[in-house]
Amino acid sequence: MTDASQNAGPMLAADGTPLKQSLARSLRRQKLRALMLIAPLLLFVIFSFIVPIASMLFRSVENSIVQETLPLTVEALQNWDEFSGETPDETVYDAFVRDMVVAVDNKTHTRLGSRLNYEETGMSSLFRRSGRKLGKLDPETDGPFKEQLIEIHEGWGEPQTWAVIKTHSPAVTNGYFLNAVDMRRTPEGAQSQPEDKQILIKLFGRTLFMSLIITGACILLAYPVSYLLATLPMRVSNMLMILVLLPFWTSLLVRTSAWKVMLQQQGVINETLVWLGLVADDARLVIINNQFGTIIAMTHILLPFMILPMYSVMQTIPPYYTRAAKSMGATNWTTFWRIYFPQSIPGIGAGSILVFILAIGYYITPEIVGGTKGVFISNRIAYHISSSLNWGLAAALGTILLAVVMLLYWCYDKIVGIDNVKLG
């Protein structure tokens, strides 16, 4: 120690090299070996998880299809004033025909049609119907084209058609994000969707609201169970634990379908209530294909995710705290509320984060028992991915969902502190 403080220079190893350097060298081998060990998993994660997610996120702003399919048209449209209320002049039509001949050859015009159809209904059929005739034109000899095009389909005579093409021509667009929050990109800038098309904000709100209710219901149901698990003798608590874990060993689909059997109008609950005379036969409870059904089924399915973190926290609260409090004169309730409960909060926090994040992205259960009123935003994402094929919008919705979850996580970290969370 005294040697080091007396020498002004850096500490030297026995062979005269600086100590830091020789330490780094001796650690490098260890680090390399560690990296080799995790390499297979790391590569797997990068290629099967990180890359797809990144490309999906990129898709939410990517819009090169217009430029790639109609390069000349996009350029020619620069000089056209979309607010004039008049169709563009012959140069634009000429450029458009040249682009379309190539596009029809490559069969890319229908894809462009579908893309533009997300923004303006009718665009898809406009491109599809005009495609064949347009492809037969020869751009060098058959001009001028303005009249011919309007002849082929009157849509080409609408200034609105060209305005849509121009508005959505940039390679990077905020259009999908605007769509995701019930707005759209127009020549005049971002505007709200018409009332009857506003659905996504409502869905986001519903997803958050129902996830909160499900999380709350899980806390209420899981707390006493976890308390029992943590305080009962080992043998009994092991039995209980098996009951808690039992649902994990059953397929999610089976469990959800079981709820369908339970909750439907001719289902177990309704039949029992009618048989008991508590409910009239013609006034059976509607407890499925709505929000109520989704909440019940999802609370049941997510309950173990609340119980397990709570249990693991409660298990670490030693019984002598309770005894100490009682020896000091605290009643059972005071002991629970002032001593036990505050120490169990990290478990509630961990469980709530887990359940809430799982709930907000849940898909299968709302799909099966949610009907139309009980579906989540994830069901909409699935719809855009598999049915409407509007992947850009699906990606934008997914990105927003990710951002919301991260924002909530950040808030939680600020309020409760993430290092207070114990998952086991």
Binding site: P318, Y320, Y321, R323, A324, A325, K326, S327, M328, G329, A330, T331, N332, T334, T335, R338, I339, P342, Q343
Partner: protein, 366 residues
Amino acid sequence: MTDTNSDAAFVEFQRVQKSYDGENLVVKDLNLALPKGEFLTMLGPSGSGKTTCLMMLAGFETATHGEILLDGKPINNIPPHKRGIGMVFQNYALFPHMTVAENLSFPLEVRKLGKSEREEKVKRALDMVQMGAFGGRRPAQLSGGQQQRIALARALVFEPELVLMDEPLGALDKQLREHMQFEITRLAHELGITTVYVTHDQTEALTMSDRVAVFDDGRIQQLAPPDQLYEEPENSFVAQFIGENNTLEGVVKSIDGDTCLVQLDDGSEIDAVPINVHNPGERTKVSIRPERVEFNKDRLHADAHTLKATVKEFIYMGDVFRFRMSVAGNDEFIVKTRNAPDAVRLQPGQEIDIGWLAKDCRALDA
């Protein structure tokens, strides 16, 4: 201590029994009375029932049979929080989510004391354990010894008349433990509180207590002040458990009032005080403390018994010399002598005569 009625039992166990499983008794027929202001230690190996007794007194366990009286009133049916007994736990049990001051304030809050009164009492209790500057800290920021003091202050802050301590010094290192032993006894006597202290550490029991109850197998084996316990053990368990002890086994030849003649298993005969042997022919264990054995011929009393001994080992311990000898067939016979200027260092292999006063040699149950 100023109470004129201090001789009347303040805490009393009357024929208390406790069983957890309905088959075995953990506490068997316990009778114990302690007057106000006494510092009583329950000492015993683990599983001897001492902690169970403490928990029954605190109200966390119920007696299977018998009555526990506090200040003359039976408390079997009073829940723990209404007993008003202060308690210090083995692992301190300081509430981790509260500051030190909040911890101390808790028992006062549940008693619905006003804010200013609470603050004053908390301050006084913290000063009492010399922790006045630590009120704002969390328990996790304190050292073991400091946590110990806070736990003590918390048990005392609501001025209970009876304080129970369950191995409170078990987690501390030796030096700190000795210091805290002194602190606890000082506070207990200054405040005049009745203390029931549970430990398995005999040094702690001997140095701190007014009386010690030695537990084994669910019974009190002996209840006596520390000096009496060490010098006059009433049975071979207590003799073995408290301090270092030499045992020689043999048969009682004859009993004559305060002395008896014991024939050891190798044939030699010694005098002993009959403690719990009653008839000639009984087997007995004779107990002699290592420091009461003398081998210096000049110091041997005229009436002392002597036996042949072979030195097996010499252990230098600084303040004392410790010899292991073979005496009457017992190879583990220990003799201790003070490291005085004229002390003799016996060498292994040496054969000598050893002896002791007959009154230091007690014939106990076999």
